[in-house]
C-alpha cells in the first residue's frame, strides 16, 4: 500500500525547504526539488508492477498478442520519464529544454508505435 501520509509529508517538507532557499542560494531549491521528485517517483513507480501483472493476465485471457502490451508499457515508461525531465526543466525556468525533452519523448513514442501501424495496415489489407 502507498503510505499517502508519508508521501504528503515528504512533499510538504520539500516545498517548505525550497521556499527556505528562495532568495539566497536558489540553486539548492532546484536540487531539493529534484531529490524529492526522484525519490518519490522511484518509490511510487514500484506500485505499478502489481497493476501491470493484473493487466497482463487479463490481456492473456483475452488472447491478444503479448507484444502489443509490451509496447504499451514501454510507452508508459517513456511518458513518465519525459514528464519528469520536462517538469524539472520547466520548474527551473528552462522551457526551451523542456520542449526539447517533450519532442524527444514524442518522437520515441512514435518510433515505438511504428510496428503497430505496420500490423494495422496488414490487417486492413487482409480485410480488403
Amino acid at each position: 500500500m502507498i503510505n499517502i501520509v508519508s508521501v504528503a509529508g515528504i512533499c510538504i517538507i520539500a516545498a517548505v525547504l525550497c521556499k527556505l532557499f528562495g532568495s539566497v542560494g536558489s540553486e539548492y531549491s532546484l536540487y531539493i526539488k529534484l531529490a524529492a521528485a526522484a525519490a518519490l517517483m522511484s518509490a511510487l513507480i514500484l506500485f505499478i508492477s502489481p497493476v501491470a501483472e493484473t493487466v497482463r493476465s487479463i490481456y492473456e485471457r483475452a488472447g491478444a498478442d503479448e507484444e502489443y502490451l509490451t509496447i504499451l508499457f514501454k510507452s508508459l515508461g517513456i511518458c513518465y520519464i519525459t514528464q519528469f525531465a520536462c517538469d524539472i526543466c520547466r520548474d527551473s525556468g528552462e522551457s526551451a529544454l523542456a520542449s526539447q525533452a517533450e519532442l524527444a519523448g514524442k518522437l520515441s513514442l512514435l518510433i515505438l508505435a511504428l510496428p503497430l501501424f505496420d500490423s494495422l495496415s496488414e490487417i486492413v489489407s487482409g480485410l480488403i
Binding site: 503510505n3 508519508s6 508521501v7 509529508g9 515528504i10 517538507i13 520539500a14 525547504l17 527556505l20 532557499f21 539566497v24 542560494g25 540553486e27 539548492y28 536540487y31 531539493i32 529534484l34 531529490a35 524529492a36 526522484a38 525519490a39 518519490l40 517517483m41 522511484s42 518509490a43 513507480i45 514500484l46 505499478i48 508492477s49 501491470a52 509490451t70 508499457f73 514501454k74 508508459l76 515508461g77 513518465y80 520519464i81 519528469f84
Partner: protein, 64 residues
C-alpha cells in the same frame, strides 16, 4: 522514506550559504565562489545516484 537525502541537501545548502556570506563579508570573493561551486558539486553527486536509481526502476518496471 528518503527524507534523509532532502535534509542532507538542505543542510549542505545552509552551510554553504553561511560560508558564502562570511567569505564575502571578509572580502574573499574568490573563496566564496569556490565554496559555492564545491557545494553544488557535492549536492549533485548526492542526487545523481537517486536519479540513476529512478531510471533503473522505471526501466525494470516497464520492461525496457
Amino acid at each position: 522514506m528518503e527524507l534523509d537525502l532532502i535534509f542532507k541537501i538542505a543542510g549542505v545548502g545552509i552551510i554553504v550559504t553561511v560560508l558564502n556570506l562570511l567569505l564575502k563579508k571578509s572580502d574573499r570573493d574568490e573563496y566564496a565562489l569556490m565554496v559555492t561551486i564545491a557545494g553544488l558539486i557535492v549536492v549533485l553527486a548526492m542526487i545523481i545516484n537517486e536519479i540513476a536509481e529512478l531510471f533503473d526502476t522505471v526501466k525494470s518496471v516497464f520492461g525496457f
